[in-house]
């Protein structure tokens, strides 16, 4: 091999330098969740601030028969055991349990629902031990002390201009979602439900609060259970909204899906 050829070969090899595609089987799935406006009117008198945390999962299939309400396919039920694991491929939520700096708000409020502290307190009024009602100003002071925040933009549970749900021309409520880094096999179903009574939140979990009061006792701020998408039936209760016709994943399509929640469990 001549010197020039050898150099050329090395030049080509040099471009490779071990670069390869990762070939990861995971995708982001984009879509819109549409919440039937009639349900919101019926249950919450049209007040979208009261919509619960919405869980969205990508499941193998859909089996509306097994529990008497729309539900994804699961593993087998063995004897008296609960129904099996739903084994989602991926998912996300609209809204997240957020701690509002007062014990009374643990497991009681969500991000993306409130444009201001006044809205938070209107839906969740807080009465202190001496009977005084917490004002927005007091709440601001409490949170800035508690978290070290120094601007309203840092309040994770106040959405301001980026609230999750917006009312559309049809009178329904829409919110966009992105399910990150999941598997998206064709034929899978995108199923969702709104946990309106916060059953999925555990007050015994979440971040340990070290600074709430002068006594320095610990307590937890509360957060959702970690198996909601695996065993949704543990958390779907009367008053929750459910998707009755979950869309089906199509090959090579990762966006534009509309998941409609239109079923009231009662």
């Amino acid at each position: 091999m001549s010197g020039k050829r050898l150099l050329a070969v090395f030049a080509v090899l040099a471009l490779l330098v071990g670069c390869e595609e990762e070939e990861i089987e995971q995708n982001n799935l984009d879509g819109t969740l549409v919440l039937d406006g009639a349900l919101v009117d019926e249950v919450f008198d049209g007040d979208a601030r009261k919509i619960g945390m919405v869980y969205i999962g990508i499941f193998e299939d859909f089996d509306p028969e097994q529990l008497g309400y729309p539900y994804p396919s699961t593993g087998p039920r063995v004897g008296d055991q609960p129904i099996g694991d739903a084994l989602p491929y991926g998912g996300t939520s609209i809204g997240v349990y957020s701690y509002g700096c007062y014990r009374a708000l643990a497991c009681n409020m969500l991000t993306g629902r409130y444009p201001s502290l006044e809205d938070v307190l209107e839906v969740n009024p807080i009465e202190l031990e001496d009977g005084e009602m917490v004002s927005a100003e007091t709440m601001y002071d409490q949170c800035t002390w508690y978290y070290g925040w120094n601007a309203i933009e840092e309040f994770s549970f106040v959405g301001q201009d980026d609230l999750d749900f917006q009312k559309n021309d049809d009178g329904d409520y829409e919110a966009s979602f992105r399910a990150w880094h999941g598997r998206t096999p064709p034929g899978a179903r995108i199923w969702a439900f709104a946990d309106n009574d916060f059953t999925s939140c555990s007050p015994d979990q979440g971040v340990v609060n070290r600074r709430y009061g002068d006594d320095l006792n610990f307590f937890r701020e509360g957060t959702n259970y970690a198996d909601v998408l695996n065993f949704p039936d543990k958390y779907v209760t009367d008053g929750d909204f459910i998707s009755s016709e979950p869309p089906t994943l199509e090959a090579d399509k990762l966006d534009g899906y509309e998941v409609r929640i239109d079923y009231l469990k009662d």
Binding site: F10, E22, G57, W180, Q205
Partner: protein
């Protein structure tokens, strides 16, 4: 390794072997080259050039070619006398020629017509700029080490190099502390598991330290951070020896603050920050066993230090030896052999320096490192040099509960009835404190870790003068075989975790939960790396040097069941050019760069070990046995080891590196320079978790893919895992000339991306939004390093170093900085904190008294003269009572070291 690539590399190595008329240089030496002309400017062939030095066995001679060119490689660092002899011409003798590791010095000489034997002795200012090199870095010479306050630590001497920050395992130009390569006499001694340094070393045995931070030549491949090459002394034809003792004490100033606790605050006090004392005894001896044929050098050092970190209840006790012996032989002409042994056993008592650890719960560490190196250098012809190098590194790191003592001292773990002095308790379970509670009972775990690295390297270097200029072609191959055994377990197979029921009452600790283990675990990880290279240093015209090279890297590192985890074959290019615009070695303009690959470490492959310890978790008193999904009473396997997935195709972690700069000699050995460097770290190791499905903001999981509430990790090298470093360095150097040594550099830099770590945790959980690259704690925009020494009359010498490091912005928006990060994911607009700037001044004064037989010297080092206590790091993710981040480390307080020695 694919067959095609393998064939190409074999061809490359063979090509370097068969090239005619080439000569050599090798890693631990420097070289002299140049052209000899007559007084008409015509090239002079047949000139005999002889080089001699106290650092070289015998004399070396070469003869100029027809074009008057000569090339003399393989010269050990030292001061040389070079003699040019030609019939009918005056003899030219060049004295005081200084050669350093890897340096290439051009000596162009004109010989005037005269009777042979008529000598002209030239003692002139020598060129101090290596105009053929485009690499970035620094050589720390023996003079540096003697004159400056280094604390007798070769690791601290590495800090002199521009762009190097951090501690003993430094961050070099944005690299992590695990991405450096440590060499001893050219042999790879990097820890096979962690990539960190693997031994401590007696400074008396060190000749030079070379630190290369960028624009690596192909022969230096295999590292993304810095290459740190420690060259040891070899002895000489003269006997030399010395004994010395040092005492240091850190109780020279009262504490300035104590804000290590989450409660924060600057606490003024009258007590000392730490109780720190150490004693060091050292000796060395070197000389000829057979003059010019066989030299020896040996050294030993013993160090005992006792120190107590702020608030700690037990002093850390370090006992260590550093032993070294070396033989250098030249039994045959053109052949040199070297064999050396280095050993550094050490014991570290009360390793855990924390106010929350009782003496009974302390850990002890025993460590040992044994390095055996053999080398054969063969000057095959005037123009061909071959080198074969073998090294064996064996190291132990054994961590156990602290041995007990019957001594009446509450700061140490007491023996119980029936226990002998030094008894190690492997039976009693540990009680570990969390969330403010103290650890109260026995050491928490034990691990017996044996590691080894066997490396063999062969290189051939050749030199040829062709019609298109001179070529120095070098090819080589290195095989490294790595192994690590680890026996791991928990005393009594149980570990209790306690916490305070009432945070304000330190005595309200109750059992939080406890974990039962199935037994102890033994794991072995092994693997091999192969590194081959071919490079050409081409000088097409005088004063212009072009370096071109290719590296081939093969890495195959396995987990505990022999599955290949880190596995790749890759070829990558490097190159550079250097130009001497003056033609007199008074200045150079240079640029270089290339792609540097990470060969990996066993810690990465062991992350995907399959065997784990079965464990059961039980809720304790704190939970009053309430059932939560946190409770487990069936065996499950340790997280991080039980479930993993490895992608079939990993992109090799790499750095895209560019360096460009210039140096100008202003005269009187004073050099100024400017250098810009870029390192783009890409596809770094990442171990993201794939089982959990996260809520809309990535703050909590809402389900699991595999149906088990456990971690399923995946080893990746994603495009997102990256880090960038940009730096601009201005330097002023003046080597010992007219008694003054001066070395000042200022580096302006910026680094962003993932926090430097072994395997990044920043992307562990799907982020639920695009990754944002924040400011890193290693980002120090302004760094000034100054070192100066002056030789005073009457045997006195003073030296000092000054370091200034600016603070780094710390932006709370970026979760990469927050203890794994995602829990603080929600953007906190506009709020940030920072580490304040810090600086320190160290001084050293030395007095040498010349005696009829040798010298007695006295030295005093004063470190951190002004007793500054600025934070050098901040604890991420946790706020103190005032909503501030609190210091995770501070400058050591002022300390003094006194030394006394005798040398001959």
């Amino acid at each position: 390794m694919s067959r095609g690539v393998f064939r190409l590399m074999i061809a490359a190595v063979l090509l370097s072997l068969v090239l005619p008329g080439v000569a050599a240089a090798t890693e631990q030496t420097g070289k002299i080259r140049g052209t000899v002309t007559d007084n008409n400017g015509e090239p002079l062939g047949g000139v005999v050039i002889k080089a001699s030095s106290p650092s070289m066995q015998g004399e070396r001679d070469v003869t100029t070619g027809e074009q008057g060119d000569y090339w003399m490689p393989g010269l050990p660092p030292g001061e040389y006398e070079v003699t040019f002899l030609a019939e009918g011409h005056q003899t030219n003798v060049q004295r005081g020629v200084r050669i350093s590791i890897g340096s290439s010095l051009t000596l162009n000489v004109t010989l005037h017509s005269a009777e042979i034997g008529a000598a002209v002795t030239v003692v002139d200012e020598r060129p101090t700029i290596d105009v053929s090199s485009s690499s970035a870095g620094q050589v720390v010479t023996r003079e540096y080490l003697q004159a400056l306050p280094t604390g007798r630590s070769y690791q601290s001497a590495v800090q002199f190099a521009p762009g190097v920050t951090g501690g003993s395992n430094p961050n070099a130009q944005g690299g992590s502390s695990r991405e450096n390569k440590w060499l001893l006499d050219g042999a790879n001694t990097s820890d096979p598991v962690t990539g960190t340094f693997s031994f401590n070393f007696n400074l008396d045995a060190i000749d030079e330290i070379e630190v290369i931070t960028g624009a690596f030549r192909a022969e230096n491949g295999g590292t993304m951070g810095a290459l740190i090459n420690v060259r040891t002394k070899s002895g000489s034809n003269e006997f030399e020896g010395g004994v010395s003792g040092f005492y240091s004490n850190g109780n020279w100033s009262p504490k300035r603050d104590a804000s290590f606790t989450p409660e924060g605050g600057q606490i003024e006090g009258s007590e000392f920050d730490r109780d720190s004392q150490s004693v060091t005894l050292a000796a060395f001896l070197g000389g000829p066993l057979l003059r010019d044929k066989l030299w020896f050098f040996a050294s030993m050092q013993y160090n005992r230090s006792v120190s107590t970190a702020l608030g700690a209840r037990s002093p850390r006790v370090f006992d260590g030896y550093q032993l070294f012996a070396k033989l250098t032989a030249s039994p045959f002409p053109r052949n040199q052999f070297m064999i050396s042994v280095a050993n550094s056993p050490a014991s570290i008592g009360n390793r855990t320096q924390s106010s929350l650890v009782d003496p009974d719960a302390q850990l002890h560490q025993y460590q040992n490192s044994l390095t055996v190196i053999g080398e054969w250098r063969w000057q095959i012809t005037n123009n061909v040099l071959a080198r074969v190098h073998y090294s064996h590194l064996a190291s132990d790191v054994d961590v156990t509960p602290q041995p007990c003592t019957w001594r009446d001292d509450d700061r140490f773990k007491h023996c119980q009835e029936g226990q002998q002095e030094g008894y190690i308790d492997f039976v009693t379970p540990a009680r570990l404190g969390r969330a403010g509670a103290r650890s109260t009972q026995n050491g928490s775990s034990y691990s017996i870790n044996d590691r080894s690295r066997d490396a063999i390297r062969a290189t051939v270097t050749g030199y040829a003068l062709t019609p298109i200029g001179s070529h120095e072609i070098k090819g080589g191959i290195e095989f490294d075989f790595l192994s690590a055994d680890n026996l791991f377990g928990y005393p009594g197979n149980i570990r209790h975790y306690d916490r305070l029921r009432d945070g304000s009452d330190p005595n309200s600790d109750v059992n939080w939960y406890w974990i039962e283990r199935q037994g102890q675990l033994f794991q072995n990880n092994s693997g091999e790396t192969v590194f081959a290279f071919l490079q050409d240093t081409w000088e097409p015209v005088p004063g212009l040097t072009i370096d071109l090279g290719f590296k081939f890297d093969h890495s195959n590192l396995k987990n505990d069941v022999g599955e290949s985890i880190v596995s790749y074959d890759a070829v990558s290019p490097v190159g550079g050019l250097a130009w001497d615009p003056t033609g007199q070695q008074k200045a150079k303009v240079y640029a270089g760069g290339g792609i540097l690959l990470d060969e990996g470490r066993l810690a990465i492959s062991s992350f995907l070990d399959k065997n784990g310890l079965g464990q059961k978790l039980y809720l304790g008193e704190f939970f009053e046995n309430r059932g939560t999904n946190f409770s487990r009473d069936q065996w499950f396997r340790s997280s991080g080891q039980s479930n993993f997935e490895k992608l079939d195709s990993l992109t090799v972690p790499r750095v895209y590196n560019i360096v460009a700069g210039f140096e100008v000699n202003l005269g009187a050995n004073t050099i100024i320079g400017m250098e810009g460097a870029v390192k783009l770290f890409r596809n770094l190791w990442e171990d993201d978790e794939v089982n959990y499905i996260w809520n809309g903001t990535g703050t909590n999981s809402i389900g699991v893919v595999n149906g088990v509430q456990d971690n399923f990790f995946r080893l990746r090298t994603p495009d997102d895992a990256q880090r960038n470093w940009f730096g601009l360095t201005f330097s002023l150097q003046r080597n010992f000339f007219k008694n003054l040594l001066l070395d000042i550099n200022y580096t302006l830099s910026m680094t962003r991306g993932l926090t430097p770590s072994q395997i990044t945790g920043a992307l562990d959980n799907p982020t639920q939004r695009p990754y944002e690259y924040g400011w890193l704690y290693t980002d120090r925009p302004h760094v000034i390093k100054a070192a100066a020494a002056y030789k005073l009359p009457f045997g006195f010498q003073i030296g000092g170093t000054f370091n200034f490091t600016s603070g780094s912005r710390f932006d709370r928006t970026y979760y990469s900085e927050k203890g794994g990060g995602y829990q603080n994911f929600v953007a906190e607009h506009g709020t940030f904190d920072s580490v304040n700037p810090w600086w320190s001044l160290d001084l050293k004064i030395m007095y040498r008294l010349t005696l009829p037989y040798g010298k007695v010297w006295l030295s005093a080092e004063l470190n951190n003269v002004t007793n500054n206590r600025q934070a050098t790091g901040i604890s991420t993710g946790v706020l103190n009572a005032r909503g501030e981040y609190f210091a995770s480390g501070r400058q050591g307080p002022m300390s003094m070291e006194l030394g006394l020695g005798y040398e001959w």
